[in-house]
């Protein structure tokens, strides 16, 4: 650090201040090919990663642990530079999976990961003394390190200041003031990565493992560089006075949650339906180009049906993620978690599980993806496992069909609540109760937490940016399509093959002669005690793709059956199913894990097949037992 250059200046308070050597053509030094990005949670590291890579990134999991692995390519570099986004950590003491992964990657001990040539250390400058604790062990690793002091804009606006040049000297590493959200100061990264790097002797005290000493050192460094803490904006306090008010707080909470749900259902459901219509019409149009026969059926009923059954969920998932993103980026999500914690603790979960579980009422897929904010791994898995019990929108088609067919409309509570609405409400309650009981069961057995203290950081309120939310929607949408899409496509092709074999005079066989009908007949003895016949059996088999598929399947079966083809599906079902059997079918759908997308996402989020398998088996057993009980009890009562 001989030629320290200070660029940008105090006349632009939010502008970058950089203390970094001028870019020199790299002649002798090693070229940087891999760089690790590390920083504490909430330091703005992910935003920075997205900005630096412009979304040219791969998302996966580190082997054996539930830690997300993100690798991207630096945008606009002369030669390809790989950026590894490490999990957010406060220190390098290997106390958690996240920290072990970070240490292993930084020291080149992670399988399949190259040892990084340089490190970008992101610290939130508004919390410098706390975040500097991470700087000591990272810089001490001896890799060329650039310290990025993020949130420079907020810091400067709040009147904060520090001597950047002095800090660079103290740390023995170049320091740059940046703002990931405003995209200022990021040119420092580019210059740093194209510089010569000679291993620098570290000037740091050897106190790296002792947090107490480290914190003391951080405080002293803060003093020496004249660190003036910014004044947190009065707005955050004032907003908290309202949002965390004893009476207004919970009221606003209920209003916000209600508004989100009203929009997701009021807007999302019609959007999904319109999208479904569009996809069906597109498929039919495209099919006209294919000669009628087995090939057209394969494309239309196998491939396209599979693709569209995934795509149909996209509007709702994106809409939910839009709101979750809005809540998270504005800072309200943490307040909601704080308000909900007291209640969630009753079932052994914490406040952060509330929004994901609520999202599961629309769709379990975004709910499970949203559990990433829950740091406690056991709490997170418990939340993932119970989320599919919440009544998602894919259950509504079969619920409405059966309720309309079997339950006559009578008033229960005057004009306010009829029997049908009451039945629907009961199914919601049923799913909710199953979730609570399961959570209790899990938390008192396999997932008994080692009582990690619950800690919730309250970020300052901020205006969410379109870019940040857009990036998130893109990212989550991509993950969903890729993960769920591939498996669903495979499963729906399989179902198509089973429905269309064996060939009948070289064409599609009548449904009752297909392999799937045989399978339906095959499982009839098992489902007979639930009050279901083989036709319902076929519906259950095909609905492993997604719950709403059963309605279509039953439509096909009863539509091709000469005895029922002239009837509406409701009437046909009334002919074929007893009241007890219909109620059992409702209960079965309330509990059963009939959703391949969810299983695929659970596998991805838990990084193992163990949890999706456990979940599928458990939910199927619960569904079977409950449906059995309902059918047996009701058919005796109704005799």
């Amino acid at each position: 650090m001989t030629s320290i250059l200070t660029k940008g200046c105090c006349d632009t308070p939010s502008g970058p201040v950089i203390a970094i050597a001028e870019r020199t053509p790299s002649a002798s030094g090693r070229e940087i090919r891999t760089v690790a990005l590390i920083g504490p949670p909430n330091s703005g590291k992910s935003t920075l990663f997205n900005r630096l890579t412009r979304l040219r990134q791969k998302v996966g999991n580190y082997p054996g642990v539930t830690v997300e692995q993100r690798v991207g390519l630096l945008a606009g570099a002369d030669h390809p530079i790989q950026i590894i986004d490490l999990p957010g950590v406060y220190s390098l003491t290997p106390y958690s999976d996240d920290e072990r992964v970070a240490v292993n990657v930084l020291t080149g001990k992670m399988d399949g990961m190259p040892c990084p040539d340089a490190v970008l250390l992101v610290l939130d400058v508004t919390h410098l003394s706390r975040h500097l604790v991470l700087a000591a062990p990272v810089i001490a690793l001896g890799l060329p390190t650039l310290v990025l002091l993020n949130m420079a804009d907020v810091f400067a606006k709040g009147g904060g200041s520090l001597d950047v040049v002095k800090l660079a000297a103290e740390l023995g590493a170049p320091v740059a003031m940046v703002s990931a959200t405003q995209e200022t100061g990021l040119d420092a990264v580019d210059r740093f990565l194209h510089q010569d790097h000679n291993p620098q002797p570290s000037a740091l005290p050897p106190v790296l493992q002792d947090l107490r000493q480290c914190r003391k050192w951080a405080g002293q460094v803060g003093d020496r560089v004249n660190y003036q803490q910014h004044l947190p904006s009065k707005w955050s306090r004032r907003l908290d006075d309202i949002f965390l008010h004893k009476i207004w707080g919970p009221l606003i909470f209920i209003l916000v949650v209600g508004a989100v749900f009203q929009t997701v259902f009021g807007l999302g459901q019609p959007m999904s339906n319109a999208f479904q219509d569009l996809l069906t019409r597109l498929g039919q149009q495209a099919a006209l180009f294919i000669p009628d026969g087995i090939l057209r059926s394969l494309v239309l009923n196998g491939l396209w049906k599979g693709v569209s059954s995934v795509l149909v969920f996209l509007p709702q998932i994106l809409l939910l993620f839009f709101f979750i993103g809005l809540l998270e980026d504005s800072g309200y999500l943490a307040r909601a978690a704080l308000i909900a914690d007291r209640t969630m603790r009753g079932v052994g979960l914490n406040g952060k599980a509330f929004i994901p579980l609520l999202s599961a009422y629309a769709c379990a897929v975004p709910a499970i993806m949203a559990t990433r904010t829950i740091e406690n791994k056991r709490d997170r898995i418990a939340t993932i496992l119970i989320a599919p019990f919440m009544t998602c929108s894919a259950r509504l088609p079969i619920y409405t069909l059966l309720i309309a067919a079997f339950i006559p409309e009578r008033p229960v509570v005057g004009v306010f609540l009829g029997t049908r609405a009451f039945a629907m409400l009961s199914l919601y309650v049923l799913g909710f109760l199953a979730a609570i009981v399961t959570a209790r069961l899990l938390k008192s057995s396999v997932l008994k937490s080692a009582a990690v203290p619950f800690v919730l950081e309250m970020p300052a309120y901020r205006w969410p940016t379109w870019q940040s939310i857009g990036l998130r929607l893109f990212d989550r949408g991509r993950v969903f399509l890729r993960q769920a899409g591939t498996i669903i496509l495979a499963v729906s092709l399989l179902v198509w093959v089973l429905t269309n074999l064996p060939l009948h005079n070289g064409g599609v066989p009548p449904l009752e002669q297909s392999v799937i009908a045989h399978l339906g007949h095959g499982i009839e003895p098992v489902i007979r005690p639930l009050g279901f016949n083989w036709k319902i059996g076929v519906g259950l088999l095909t609905s492993v793709i997604a719950r709403e598929v059963i309605v279509g399947t039953l439509g096909t079966i009863y539509g091709t059956d000469p005895a029922t083809h002239a009837m509406t599906l409701q009437n046909a079902l009334r002919q074929d199913l007893t009241l007890a059997g219909a109620m059992a079918l409702l209960v079965f759908f309330a509990f059963a894990m009939q959703c391949t997308s969810t299983l695929a996402i659970v596998r991805r989020e838990t990084n193992s097949w163990k949890w999706p398998v456990v979940q599928f088996v458990y939910m199927t057993i619960v569904a079977y037992s409950a449906a059995f009980a309902v059918n047996q009890v009701l058919s005796r009562l109704l005799k």
Binding site: Y95, R130, V133, Q229, I339, D341, R342, V452, P453
Partner: protein, 102 residues
């Protein structure tokens, strides 16, 4: 002539973080939890020597929000009970009359 002694009594009794009144500030003394939990809390800034202030309670009474190094962190009572602090603000001057010495 009356003499008075000016004494400064600094209260140094450890109390739990939980016992602070809203708005009251204190310095963390020690955390009486198993090492793994102690470490977990220290990583997020609850380090002995750090200044904490009780900001506010959640609307339903628990958890409570504490301000540490300019960050607001919410902790449940079950955790705050084990974080021992020394009150900063109870610093009072006591004027003790000693009578006429002449």
């Amino acid at each position: 002539m009356r003499y008075t002694f000016l004494m400064t009594i600094r209260e140094s009794v450890d109390v739990a973080l939980l016992d602070l009144a809203p708005g009251e500030a204190a310095t963390i003394d020690h955390i009486s939890l198993p090492p793994a939990d102690e470490h977990f809390l220290m990583r997020i800034g609850l380090v002995p020597g750090a200044q904490v202030r009780f900001s506010r309670r959640a609307p339903l009474g628990d958890p409570s929000v504490y301000s540490v190094d300019g960050t607001e962190i919410a902790l449940r009572a079950e955790t705050a009970r084990h974080i021992m602090v020394q009150r900063d603000t109870v610093q009072q001057d006591v004027v003790a009359p000693l009578g006429d010495l002449s």
